[in-house]
């Protein structure tokens, strides 16, 4: 009888303790519930992607004659050059410009191969001679080659030069006129 009362008391104390504990824990959890708020603003500035040609100038040596290319944003088109003797050359200088706010890199560059078309009886010999002696060069103004993965960071420019020259170290000229096509360059830039 006494034992049963004691057990009941223990149980009651335990239950109270547990309840107290649960209530205590519940009270502790309730106090740690907080609503988190983040407030503020976001501006989506429209990114500016713009790669273009700029600032075209031309120089010549010897008796070379030229028509400078037409400058549009992404094209330099329809230049023409006439050379008459070894050492004659024309150099076009211009800038590659990244006027946007996104860094760019050169993914691919394709430089054309000269195709020579002769005239008259010695056309074949003339074509071979001119194609062996025409120099078609495209590089940075400091002399370094332009290669894939070159960077063109936002708000920067790079100076480049395009040169067409008749080899100064030859003593041979074609007998007739020779037209040279294929003097084109294509560059694909993408985001870095």
């Amino acid at each position: 009888m006494k034992t049963e009362a004691k057990e009941k008391e223990v149980k009651t104390i335990a239950i109270i303790a547990i309840v107290v504990a649960v209530v205590g824990i519940s009270i502790a959890y309730a106090a740690m519930t907080t609503t988190l708020k983040i407030t503020g603003r976001a501006n989506m500035n429209s990114a500016n992607w713009n790669i273009e040609f700029q600032s075209l100038t031309a120089e010549k040596t010897g008796d070379a004659v030229y028509t400078a290319p037409t400058l549009a944003a992404t094209s330099l088109s329809n230049y023409s050059v006439t050379l008459t003797k070894p050492g004659d050359s024309v150099t076009f200088k211009f800038k590659l410009a990244n006027t946007g706010n996104i860094d760019a890199k050169l993914k691919t560059i394709t430089k054309g191969k000269p195709v020579c078309i002769g005239t008259g009886e010695s056309a074949d010999d003339d074509e071979n001679l001119v194609c062996q002696n025409i120099i078609f060069d495209f590089k940075y103004q400091d002399g370094k080659p332009i290669v894939e993965n070159d960077s063109l960071n936002q708000q920067t420019t790079k100076d480049v030069i395009l040169t067409i020259e008749y080899n100064n170290n030859t003593n041979n000229l074609p007998k007739g006129h020779v037209t040279v096509n294929g003097l084109d360059v294509v560059m694909l830039y993408e985001q870095a």
């Binding site: 907080t34 988190l36 983040i38 976001a42 989506m44 990114a47 992607w49 713009n50 790669i51 273009e52 040609f53 008796d63 290319p69 992404t74 094209s75 330099l76 088109s77 329809n78 230049y79 023409s80 050059v81 006439t82 050379l83 008459t84 003797k85 070894p86 050492g87 590659l96 996104i102 993914k107 000269p114 001119v130 025409i134 495209f138 395009l162 067409i164 008749y166 003593n171 000229l173 074609p174 007998k175 007739g176 006129h177 020779v178 037209t179 040279v180 096509n181 003097l183 084109d184 360059v185 294509v186 560059m187 694909l188 830039y189 993408e190 985001q191």
Partner: protein, 203 residues
Amino acid sequence: MEKNRGVKVVAVIALIVAVVGLTIAYASLSVTLNITGSAKVTPANWDVEFENPAVDEESKIGGADGTAPTLEGKTTLKDFQITLTKPGDSITFTFDVVNKGDIKAKLSTLTMPEVSALTYEGTALEAQKTTDENTVKENIEYKLTDESGSEITDGGTLVLDTDSNQRKKMKLTMTYKSTAQSIPSAAVNISGLDISMIFEQAD
């Protein structure tokens, strides 16, 4: 402290989501730059040639005589003849070298055989023949000069332009030395007096 860390974790996650969203929007940007054009080679005219070969009659000294070279094509003066008889005899041929082309030219190489390298053919009898040949070899001299008498040299110092200064008058003079103490007993023919001038494009 715990509360702040929880706020920070949520804030960072939100920012990451926003950045990932922006990056996906940029991935498609690219541009192609094109350069196009052509060239033409129209050969300039290269033409350097001889003109006006002649004997300078006023230059004849003593018994010297001769026949001016003949012009073969534009680039060869051939078959001149010179006769000298005694010490001091001298004769001069004149001719012009002219640049008639569109490209400036320079004399890059001049080849004139040494007197000792010429061929001497004496006409005396065998014993005297060699002596005569040697006598002539020791006492003959020739030179190539400009109009003022300065010797022509190669290496690019003589330049012919395409407008003014296109023409250079030259003189070829052959002399039996006035200081010679002997003459051959019979005629000695001299051959091999071949001079070549190579002109190249000047800078």
